[in-house]
Amino acid sequence: MLNNIKKDFNTMTWVLIPVAIAINIAIGQIVVTLKLPVFLDSVGTVLVGVLCGPWAGALTGALSNTIWGIAIDPNALPWWPVAFFIGLVSGFMAKGGWFKSWWKVVVTGFVVALTAAAASTPIAVYLFGGITASGSSFITAYLMQTGLGVFQAVFSTSFLVEPVDKITTAMLAFAIVQGLSRRFIARFPRPENVEDEGGANQTQLYIAIGVVVLLVLFAAFMLRNILGG
């Protein structure tokens, strides 16, 4: 086990990690510039998880939030365990072969979203008492006022917000992997994770985008029901 983990950390991995952290932060800021309603702040983490294994991904996530918190926005600091699990889970999903075609990537994104929701709930509840400095806390606050417990309110909110974000993140990471040359990918510890399966790529991509759009509509519908009801 420990030897396997060690094998995942070759020189390419150690060099990729800082670049991936910078990618996380830079894409996060581009998204802010474009005023899109997602975070997309873990594309690099997922990328490392897929190419270099779960533990490298987990390390990238944890360091990414720490450095983000220290250097740019202090609010990111307490959430490092969430990023840790995002990297870990995307790595394990890729190891299980769930990062080889568009529809599988959507599933990976969804599993990562569930993990992120589960990991962020205890932090939001115990550190912040349920209400954090993020905008989605308005939903949590409303749910709590309707009599829902803190845990349920926080988890429902993340469950509404996370899937769209994490599936888009996984799809973006997959698009990046597909744009890289095979020779380059072969230098990383786990090139077999992203071996091409072939098949109808174009159609699958459209279906994947369709799923994301449906999820956005679902979240919007639920929000109207919750806030308008």
């Binding site: 950390f9 020189t11 390419m12 150690w14 060099v15 990729l16 990690i17 800082p18 670049v19 952290i21 910078a22 990618i23 932060i25 830079a26 894409i27 800021q29 581009i30 998204v31 510039t33 474009l34 005023k35 899109l36 594309v43 360091l63 450095i67 918190g69 220290i70 250097a71 740019i72 926005d73 202090p74 609010n75 600091l77 912040f128 008492g129 349920g130 209400i131 954090t132 400095a133 806390s137 949590t140 606050a141 409303y142 709590m144 006022q145 973006l172 698009a175 990046i176 744009g179 890289l180 380059f184 230098r187």
Partner: protein, 261 residues
Amino acid sequence: MAMHERLSFYAKRDSILHRLNPLTKLTLVFGFVLISFFAPFYWTPHLLILSGVIPLSFTGKVAREYFNASLRLILPAAGFLFIMQALFQPLEGEELFRIGFLHPTKESVMFAFANAMRIFLMVSSFTLFLLTTHPSELMSDLTRRGLPGQFAYVIISTIQILPQMQAKAQTIISAQRSRGLDTQSSFLKRAGSLIPLVGPLVFGSLVEVEERAIAIEARGFTSTKTKTSLHEIPDTNSDKMIRWILAALVLISLALRLWLS
């Protein structure tokens, strides 16, 4: 906009705080944070800020930078957290006023105040640490104490790459805009312009990965031999004493919490 800010907070001065061993300062930060969470008294975080962090910022001769960073970065975040929690935390107690479904109680305001102060303490003591410690000094001290060199590489290299990456992102945004890329109109157009912005940025930076790997490999990156350091970082007896006292204080506050609750 945070994009053009320099990344290293470090302010070069000559003070007692600057001369302390980096690990001692790190212990100080974690000590403050842990005590503020463990100690069972309501006013602990407030007192630690007033009698700990702020006087230390004067000792370190970085008070101006410290207040600047606190006002600009930390206070808005802590303030927002305070308002959100004071309004939305459904705690039972004496009701202060009522707007719509919002009815903040005295308890929820007190709770929000303590929580916001805890976050403020956490971030501002870290800021003080970064103001008085050069990142590479911290890393070489921690490497000497047994932190794997690879970790030090990741941290230092991220700190170097990040500003370059942010500058690159700005350049790409301007370049694509001048070619007519839409970054301001409808939602779908903005979502569509994500790819032409992210693509060049990511592929451009991944190209450098291989070259960098070869370069550090040639400098003995994976060698397991102990490496010598050109720059010695002092670790005095008073450093050690401060660290033990802080550890003891953390344990005492933890014991008090367990004992009183």
